[in-house]
Amino acid sequence: MSLDSLLFQAVNGLASASGLFLVAAGLSIIFGVTRIVNMAHGSFYMLGLYLAVTLAPALSPWIGGAAGFWGGILVATLAVALLGALVEMVLLRRLYRAPELYQLLATFALLLVISDAVLFLWGPEDILGPRAPGLSGAVDLLGRRLPQYDLFLALAGPAVLLGLHLLLRRTRFGRLIRAATQDREMVAALGINEALLFTAVFALGAGVAGLGGALQMAREPANLAIDLSVLGDAFVVVVVGGMGSISGAYLAAVLVAEVKALCTALGVVDIAGYAFNMSRLTLVAEFLVMALVLILRPHGLFGRPQPPATTRARAEPAPAPLGRRGAVLVLVAVALFAAVPLIGQFFAYAPVLALDMVIAALFAASLHFIMGPGGMASFGHAAYFGLGAYGAAFAATRLGAPTPLAFAMGIGTAAMGATLFGWFCVRLEGVYFAMLTLAFAQIVWSIVYQWEEVTGGSNGMFGVWPQAPFDEPAGLYLAALAVTLAGLFLIRRVVFAPFGFALRAGRDSSLRAEASGIPVARVRWLAFALAGTLCGAAGALFAFAKGSISPEAISVGRSIDGLVMVLLGGVQSLMGPVLGAGGFTLLQDMVMRETDYWRALLGAVILAVVLLFPSGIAGGLRRAGNAR
């Protein structure tokens, strides 16, 4: 590696940092005022990019190449801002008083809908944008040619940072944003129309993200995967920089982008006789940066400590013992599920579907354990599902381990991952926890995607077939049923054990629990590790059930599936996720295979659940029961 290649990558890094910063800054401003983490923020970036690559060539014949290019960026930015305003007025306004989880899910549903809208409007192919007129050349610097547009972008980030700074300091709108970030009620009590302010702030944040995307048009093709990859990166940036700090977001964006650029610049490095391809380690580097910052400064570089939540706004219902009638119902359900293989000869598809439902039930129940009694809504639970699946698949195919051993190794892999990531995650609460878990899942996904030698990359791994007696459909199904029942039993025992009481005490009031001698962080860490381990068991079963495994098993989409299952069923009882998993699997099987636009459909389902059934199906049934 030479000095000038380092410089080249450094400029490249700064150019990437600008785009990342714009998304993170918009996210941060919106969160500050509305307290909503907008999961669809990467979608605004993606829309900005798609609109720009379409508008710039369309405008150019009319107003000239340069004016068309910059005009396209401007119009794309304004269009995204307008869409942001619309989204705020139609959707978010109904959610300001809803629990955080619902806000996160609703904005994620928006991500799904936008993603399919883009697919519908622009098609699945990547679209290349025009190069910037006047900036398509290169500048000679230290004998190395640097692309002009990268230099321009490297300067655009600080320019927007300065612009936002002036907006916040020098204008009444900026003062309103700063004041509302601290105390929305008081702002309203001074006669300021909160609703209008929120709409304006959301439009501003969306527009800034749209600008970030539009500016990338001369650098990267518009594609459908950007929304999630940008969202994951933006979460890392916001967590590292400190939520609510615009300067922190810029510093973190530069830090993350530069560390990645440095890894790429280093290329293949000899360490102790081994050749390491450092450019493959960019994602690990991103993780290490985040881990280091969180260890040294848990609230990010420029973040302030969150005030500890002294009490939760709403009292959660305590988990209720089963009762005689409940026990009978559970036994009947278990007997029915155990009898499914008997009808397999008439309905060949029944055992396959039932196996999916059983695996989904364990997946959802493990998530419920940290969400309900733990109060930690993970947006990256699929990471442990994927680790379990890949661990088992690797052991079965590459190491030739017998099926039970491979199964155990899958669980072990998930347990190690959950223990490692959990240590960081449990230190944060609420939306910060959600963001960090999602960022970790994105990192696991990327590692699996890039580490072809071990994981098979985007193709995944094939031929993960179990050995006898699990090679028969009935054998595998009954084994999966037994594992899931054991998992559910374990969760139930833990919830009713002193450990479960400690977990719920920490959820309801971490301060009071600490003062009563409960080591809240350790209790949460253990719960997180246990949930990840059980989730890994579901993943390992999944690998054997499908016979193959691909990175899709770790996608954010799967994490969200889990959340939807739990919410469908209701968060605060173990029956909830089991019912929700069953219902969701059926729905997915029946409806979502029929259409190319299943994501939009899922989004619509999530929005319906969030807006209509705030306590899930099981909660709704219980309420109906009480009303009678």
């Binding site: 970030t181 009620e185 309203a188 009590a189 609703a195």
Partner: protein, 238 residues
């Protein structure tokens, strides 16, 4: 009763925090140019009454009229714009903003205000020297002055003060009483909640005594036994 025309007329007010009902069937009035005290111990519902007026908690009433307008269904910012200035219990100064910026937020763009900066600093001379100071680095008394000033620039007809002397040095309380008396002389109406009756006795004409979310007593301020705090007062009433 008195001959002053009614400015604020509340009848049968109830309010809730989540599921819990805090206020029960409150009725009270504030006349134009009148200062009314809400007296009661901690948790009696004084602050909630004020938040209910501003629409900051869920509320319902048979009648909620301010200057002849029904305010029961109005969102907070419209209640404020009708001319009610709210100075909350813990003052809620925007700590990241300077004194000047805090004042600026209270102003209505496009609406002329009697309360120019000059008029504000004439009423609270101490604030004039602190214009560039961040709200977070002021003393409790200074914050209290700023909170009152921030409400005044919005041109209110009625000032709602929640515990204005709590956590404020006695010398500042005296200055505050002076400023409030000048405001009253110029025609301002007040609703003031207090545990310490010194400020109320100096300013208020009438008092209502609250306990457990209900009105228990009302009468002229002179009828409140002199020097007694609300706890002592209520024990005597029993």
């Amino acid at each position: 009763m008195r001959s002053v025309p009614t400015l604020l007329d509340i009848e049968g007010l109830a309010a809730w925090y989540g599921e819990a009902q805090i206020l029960f069937d409150l009725s009270f009035t504030v006349g134009r140019g009148e200062a009314v005290a809400l007296v009661g111990r901690n948790g009696a519902g004084k602050s909630t009454t004020m938040k209910a007026l501003m629409g900051l908690v869920r509320r319902r009433a048979r009648r909620m009229a301010f200057a002849g307008r029904d305010i029961a269904a109005l969102p907070t910012h419209e209640v404020a714009r009708l001319g009610i200035g709210y100075v909350p219990e813990d003052r809620r100064i925007f700590t990241d903003l300077t004194v000047a910026e805090n004042l600026d937020l209270g102003r209505r763009p496009g609406a002329a205000s009697l309360w120019t900066d000059a008029a504000i600093f004439e009423l609270f001379p101490h604030l004039a020297g602190l214009r560039a100071r961040a709200g977070g680095s002021m003393s409790g008394g200074e914050q209290q002055m700023l909170a009152v000033a921030r409400s005044l620039v919005g041109n209110p007809e009625l000032l709602i003060l929640d515990e204005p002397s709590e956590g404020v040095a006695p010398i500042i309380v005296e200055q505050m009483i002076g400023a409030l008396l000048r405001l009253k002389a110029s025609g301002m109406s007040f609703l003031i909640s207090e545990q310490n009756s010194l400020l109320c006795e100096a300013i208020c004409n009438r008092a209502y005594v609250m306990e457990q979310g209900e009105m228990r007593w009302q009468g002229g301020i002179d009828a409140l036994p002199a020097g007694s705090d609300s706890v002592g007062l209520f024990t005597k009433l029993k």
